[in-house]
Symmetry: C2
Subunit: 170 residues, 2 copies
């Protein structure tokens, strides 16, 4: 299965998708961010089949994105609550929403407004920025092997360097 393939990859974007890239998984995280915590709550809001929901909730608990808490002792009722790791998915979710608002729905047709609770103004656009506050595009970035780079990653960077030093680069 594709999941196994990507787990082996030394790529952080692929590994993140491996844990949350499934449509249902991200929609469950979205609901959890909105405050839903019970099995029936997720089921009602998402219209998702019980077996799929069980499967995705278990995977999210196993990956440490959700924590399962027994709500009442001696009952089988559980609440599914976001961990710090899960709450930290917020920028990804907001970035996805803003991208679709801009490029899929378009200005004036956004399904949702995300407001700053204190000022009731729209929140800021999510951007990639430098430490001194400049907005960065892809041309302003350089990728280098990190401390956890494996042989494949190192080989790719070496190949890219060799390519750049050729006079007739393609």
């Amino acid at each position: 299965m594709a999941r196994t393939r990507f787990t082996a990859m030394n790529c952080p974007a692929a590994r993140a998708l491996d844990e949350i890239g499934d449509w249902w998984t991200l929609l469950i995280v979205r609901e959890a961010l909105y405050g839903t915590s019970s099995f029936s709550g997720f089921q009602d809001k998402l219209g998702i089949a019980r077996n799929i929901l069980t499967d995705r909730l278990n995977a999210l608990v196993e990956n440490g994105v959700l924590e399962r808490r027994q709500t009442k002792p001696e009952t089988e009722r559980y609440a599914y609550v976001l961990t710090d790791k899960g709450r930290d998915l917020l920028p990804i979710l907001v970035a996805l929403m803003q991208w679709a608002d801009r490029w899929v729905f378009g200005r004036g047709a956004e399904p949702l407004r995300v407001l700053d609770a204190r000022t009731r103004s729209p929140i800021e656009q999510i951007v990639v920025s430098s430490r001194d506050g400049r907005k960065l595009s892809i041309n302003d970035l350089r990728f280098r092997p990190g401390p956890g780079a494996d042989q494949t990653t190192l080989a790719r960077f070496a190949a890219a360097r060799a390519m750049r030093s050729k006079p007739d680069k393609n």
Copy 2:
């Protein structure tokens, strides 16, 4: 297929995933951001089967994320180049990478370093922020129906309001 189901959804995160949520699709976008543009380039870098690559490239062109350009007249060679819509996926990709660096690989084991080309320093962490520059967590946000909210979205907000006004809210 799941794709059809979510296309109908009035949710920007789901719609964004609908266009780029497939693992291969996002890895192709990642390669395109790194500068890969030829079919054989994507094939070499990703180790992806020809038919899957053809399928995903066609979908990305159809969705306006990539543009297909004939590189030499009278040949069948094409370059696949990111459009503005495609380049605007950068914050999503960087947010995914930073999340996995933090929560999957961990400090000191990051496979890649993303640097600001001008200063050669690491880039800033991506955050959700207010227009006046405060970092916002989920508790600092309010979601409201937008101008493009459909009946389902409006009904959900109405139900959430009714729930909040009950004395014994669950």
